[in-house]
Symmetry: C2
Subunit: 402 residues, 2 copies
C-alpha cells in the first residue's frame, strides 16, 4: 500500500498471469486489502519467467506486491467452498471478487446467492469466453503489419503486453466504479472485460477504426515515424540513438531552434510536418550525426526539445534518474526469496500525502491463517483441520520457503 | 454514457492529445458528466490526423465521445477565470479537474483556495514537468531494441501509444479513488501522473527491471516469440499469417493435439517450452505451411487452440465478428461532421444492466450555453456578453460546423 484511499475495501483475487493480478496490484497500492488466492505450491503462473537467481519468479513477485496471500487447493470441493466463503463474507467492505478464471463454481450467480450485493469482475481473452492472450489479440489489431519493417507477410509483434496492461487498469477502474455505486444503492455488479474488446475499443478511440472504414485504406507502415506529427529516431556521431518528437507547437519550435530547421519549416502545422517528415528528418539526421550524444543532450535540454535516449533496461537502471531512488515512485525493496532490488510503487503521486513503503510480494500462503481468522472467523482447530486435510497451507509449502 | 455508475459526478477536462482525454472518456462512458474545455476554434489537437473525408479529426472525435463541450478562450484572463469557476463550482459532485496542462493559473493551490475539497489530476510527460511524449518515454524502456529485428543501433518503435493508454486508465482509476475518499472524509486531493513513471513502473511490475538488476543482463531480442512460454507467428499455405500461443497448460495441450507435437513435447512445462521454442516452432511451422488458413482455423477451433489471425484494420472490420454490430461493445455511430461509422463504447460489460447508446463527440462549444447556465447559473445577458467579447463561443465557431 502506498496511499490509503480505498481501505478497508477487501478484494479477493483468484487469478493468474497479468491483467487480473495487475488490476489487483493497482487496488492494493491504493490501500485495498487484496487477498490473492493461489494453489498450494503455486498455480500456473507461480514459476513464470523471469526468475531470480534463487529460482523465485520475478514476474509473480512483481505483480503481487502489496497483497496478502492465501494458499487453497481449489481443486477440492472444500477449497472451492472456502474461496466462495471468502468472497461472500459479510461486511460493507467485502464481497468483491477479481478473477480471470471463469468457472461455474465461482460464477457471479453462485456468489450472489450467498451475498446479494457481491461485485465480481471477470477478465477473459475473448468476450465469448474462448481463449486468447495479449499476443493473439494483438495480431488482429493491424499494428504488427505497420510496426518496424513489418508487413502482413512478416508481422512484428509487440513485446510489451499492452492489452493486458490496459485491461488491468480498466478493470481496477470499473471495479471501483461498482464499489462506489454499491455504497450509494446497495446493489452489486457483474463486470466482464475481454482483452479483445479492450484492444479493438482502443482502435476506435484513437480514430484508427473509423479511418479504415471511412477512407477504405489502412494506415501505411511508417517505420519509426510518429503518425500525424513529426517524430523519429536518429543516430548520434558516437553511435547512440535518440528519439525526437515535435508534436505540440512548443516542442516543434524547440526542435526547429535546436537543429536550425529554419523559419519555413517552423511555420508548418502538425499535418504539414507529417507530410514533410522525410525532408525534416534529413536535416535532423545530419545535425545529430555531426554531434556526440552529450552535445545533442546539452543543446536539446537547453532548448527544451522533446526527446529521449534509447536505453537498455540495464542502462536505464544505471543512468536514468527517473528510475533512481531520488524518484519517490521507486524504492529498494527486499522481496523474500529474491533479495534486494529496485521496485516501483504506484505511478500516481498524491501531493501532501505521505507515501507509504511498498510491501513486497508475500510467500504463498503467508497470510492463510490470519485471513481465515480475520475474514472467516475460523478458530485454530478449524484451521488445523483444513491444514491437515490439505485444503489450505501456510508459507512452509511455498517451494522457495526458507 | 454506456452505464450510469458515476453520475452525477462532474469532471472538467482541460486537455489535449491522448492520456487525459482517454481518461475523461473512460469516466464519461461510466456516466460522469465530463465537460471538455477547448479553445474557440479548437486547441492543439483539434485537427489531429487521421481526418474524416470532410476534414474533421477522427482522433479528436474518437477520444471525446460521450462528453459535453465548452469553447473558452483560456488565453484571456476572463476565460481563465471562467475555467476556474467551472472547476470550483459548488455541489458535492463538482470540484474535479482532469488535465495535462500544468500551468500556474490552473494550479491545485489556486483551485483549492476557491474550493477546499477540489480534486485535480494532472498528467505530465516527466515527473519534473519537463516535456516527454509516449514515444520518447518508450525509447528508454528497452523495448525498442528487442522488438522485431530491432537493436540498440536500429530500435523499433511501437505504433500503439501504449503508455498514453495505460496512463489514461490509471488516471481514471486514481481520480475515482479520490472521489470515493472525498465522499467519506470530505478531503480533496492533488493527483499527479507522469508517463515516464507509468512506463518504468510497468517494467518493475512485470519483473523486467529486477531481471536486469539481479542477472546483470538484458532480455535478448526474441523476435516474435513470446517470452517465457511458447508462442510465435506462422505462415499458412495460402500466405496468411497466424499467431499461436501455448501459455496455460490447456492451451499447450490443445496445440500439441492440433499439430501432433507428441507426448514428449506435451509434457514440457512453460519454461521448458520456452527453452525448446525453436524446435517446437519448426514442427508447427511445417504443420501450418501444409494447410490453408481455413483448414488451420477448423483444426485450431476444434481443439480450442489459443490462436489469432493477423489482420489489417480493414480486414478486421470486414471479417472479425468481435468488432461487428453483433458485439454490444460496438455500434453504428453518427458523428457530426464525420458521418456514420462503427465505434466502440466502453469495453466493460455489466451483466443485467442496460447498455445505453454512445453519444458521439460534440461540436466544439456545443454545450457552452447549457454549461454556463447549468453549472455557473449565468443568465442570458451574462452569456451574451461573454460571447460578444470572444471569451466563449457556441458551435457556430467550430471550423466544421454546418
Amino acid at each position: 500500500m502506498n496511499y490509503q484511499l480505498l481501505g478497508p475495501l477487501r478484494v479477493i483475487e483468484s487469478s493468474a498471469f497479468i491483467a487480473a493480478p495487475l488490476a489487483g496490484l493497482t487496488l492494493a497500492q491504493f490501500g485495498a486489502d487484496v487477498i490473492r488466492v493461489d494453489l498450494i505450491g503455486g498455480g500456473i503462473d507461480y514459476g513464470r519467467l523471469p526468475l531470480a537467481p534463487g529460482g523465485r519468479s520475478l514476474y509473480w513477485t512483481g505483480l503481487n506486491k502489496a497483497k496478502r496471500s492465501i494458499a487453497i487447493d481449489i481443486r477440492k470441493p472444500q477449497g472451492r467452498e472456502l474461496l466462495r466463503a471468502l468472497v461472500a463474507a459479510p461486511g460493507p467492505d467485502g464481497g468483491v471478487l477479481l478473477t480471470n478464471i471463469a468457472t461455474p463454481w465461482l460464477s457471479h450467480a453462485t456468489l450472489a446467492s450467498m451475498r446479494a450485493d457481491v461485485i465480481t469482475c471477470t477478465i477473459s481473452g475473448n468476450p465469448d469466453g474462448s481463449t486468447a492472450v495479449d499476443y493473439t489479440v494483438n495480431a488482429a489489431t493491424g499494428f504488427p503489419a505497420i510496426t518496424g519493417n513489418g508487413s502482413m507477410q512478416a508481422p512484428v509483434n509487440h513485446v510489451l503486453p499492452a492489452w493486458d496492461v490496459a485491461c488491468a487498469y480498466q478493470a481496477a477502474f470499473a471495479l471501483l466504479a461498482a464499489v462506489l455505486q454499491r455504497r450509494h444503492t446497495g446493489a452489486g455488479a457483474e463486470l466482464r472485460l475481454a482483452l479483445s474488446d479492450v484492444a479493438f475499443a482502443t482502435l476506435s478511440n484513437l480514430g484508427i477504426l473509423a479511418q479504415a472504414e471511412l477512407s477504405g485504406q489502412d494506415r501505411p507502415n511508417l517505420g519509426n515515424h510518429i503518425h500525424g506529427a513529426f517524430g523519429r529516431d536518429f543516430a548520434t556521431r558516437d553511435g547512440q540513438r535518440v528519439m525526437v518528437a515535435g508534436v505540440s507547437a512548443g516542442q516543434w519550435s524547440a526542435l526547429c531552434a535546436a537543429c536550425g530547421l529554419g523559419s519555413e519549416k517552423e511555420a508548418m502545422d502538425e499535418a504539414a510536418r507529417f507530410a514533410a517528415r522525410d525532408a525534416i528528418a534529413d536535416v535532423v539526421a545530419a545535425w545529430c550525426a555531426a554531434r556526440d550524444v552529450s552535445e545533442v543532450e546539452r543543446v536539446f535540454e537547453s532548448h527544451k526539445v522533446c526527446w529521449g535516449r534509447y536505453r537498455t533496461v540495464s542502462d536505464l537502471l544505471a543512468n536514468d534518474p527517473r528510475v533512481s531512488l531520488a524518484n519517490p515512485v521507486f524504492e529498494q525493496l527486499t522481496t523474500p526469496g529474491v533479495g534486494s532490488h529496485r521496485a516501483a510503487g504506484t505511478a500516481v503521486r498524491l501531493a501532501d500525502r505521505e507515501r507509504s513503503a511498498t510491501v513486497p510480494a508475500p510467500w504463498l500462503g503467508q497470510h492463510t491463517e490470519e485471513v481465515l481468522t480475520g475474514v472467516l472467523d475460523l478458530d485454530a482447530s478449524a484451521i488445523g483441520r483444513l491444514m491437515d486435510t490439505g485444503v489450505v497451507a501456510g508459507p512452509q509449502r511455498d517451494p522457495y520457503w526458507r
